[in-house]
Symmetry: C2
Subunit: 258 residues, 2 copies
Amino acid sequence: MEVIKSNKNTKIKEWIKLKAAKGRKKARQYMIEGEHLVEEAINHHADIDKVVVTDEKLDQYRSLLFPYESDMVVVNDSVMKSLCETQANQGIAAIINMPDRSSEVKEFDGKVLLVDAVQDPGNLGTIIRTADAAGFSAVVLGEGTVDLYNDKVLRSMQGSNYHLPIVHANLVEWITTYQEKGLPVFAAALDEQAKDYQVIAGIENQAIIVGNEGQGINPDILSITKNKIMIPIYGEAESLNVSIAASLLMYKAQEKKG
Amino acid sequence: MEVIKSNKNTKIKEWIKLKAAKGRKKARQYMIEGEHLVEEAINHHADIDKVVVTDEKLDQYRSLLFPYESDMVVVNDSVMKSLCETQANQGIAAIINMPDRSSEVKEFDGKVLLVDAVQDPGNLGTIIRTADAAGFSAVVLGEGTVDLYNDKVLRSMQGSNYHLPIVHANLVEWITTYQEKGLPVFAAALDEQAKDYQVIAGIENQAIIVGNEGQGINPDILSITKNKIMIPIYGEAESLNVSIAASLLMYKAQEKKG
């Protein structure tokens, strides 16, 4: 157990850098805040480097943090405030070593969600949380997608990043390999040839692509994808939010064939 | 056409007050920002009090704003910045008189979504946008729900507030009246007696309730609601985001009976 009372401490300065994607990439670490996310990390055996707790909350979290006593850093309120992104922090955080997931890329059975350049952290987090709920096997993040360890993504994921593999890949290559195996890939697109999304119900092995909030799926990806599907719009809205579209598709894929 | 070049102008000071729910309630007006939302308001004949445009963007928006020339206020960049919530504003905004919707409360055919105390503006906006897309007849907001004219709600709704009626009501009273007519109300709840949400498919007239992000549906509302339904969780996630749950339910309600 270590005690740090100053924002100018070298470790604190290093951890503050984890707030930016660049800092996380360099350190290969990310930071989580709040009891629920720390508990999820512990329960799912995340590679925890340090747990950080305020002196005030030490007693409250003692049993939760007991196995991590040698990796515990106790700070005061002011240090915790400079570490945390949320205005009302819960006095608990953790520094986690990023898993290396590059080798897991092409080995998926079941249902896989492909995410092309989704930009909003809340959308990405919600998509991953719903992929978990819908029983998907994995999520593949293409280039241009917001950083997985952004604090808003972490908050929206609610720990689902520990429940299913999430990998980075070049989606053109990934889709090409997957389709060569004879497996179907479905792209959500507002296209005249697109079929109603009911067609994906009950297909055991399949991949579904969703795209950027404003631009949709990148044309290079769309052009190689064999199946286009669409969710009907019954009212006057022009489109659906991407996390809503992804969720409707994933739950539809998990349904029995009607 | 009026030209305002100072943040200290009385009108500008009044409009800045519209950023807070209290100011909107008092003035019975709200403010929208950006080309898309102003265009939606114009196309749907919202009760526009003023359109505000920067001198720089006046030419670009001239044809869109032509019918509103007598209600136009031209401002400089600095005034527009103090009016707008978004960091990169598009040089266009509008002040809109709130519709009076209290009389519309109990006259709904079709499918109605009831929202109990949803707190996050992004969630509420996305729910209303999806209610529009899913062809719902109306949305009823219960007490404790975030203000409809919050700027984040407005941005997430994408203009759907002009596409379907959105009213405020006491949900206990609303549900009681609706059930007395023999119509079914479904509450999304993690309850042992809850049925799989597939049961709502194809029911022409029905109401669906979704609840607060942390607490779910208020027990007073839940206890009078005859039908409980649930969306299955296939993975390890503990729950779904409320906008995702609402969307899955609304699209399911719109499906044909399987």
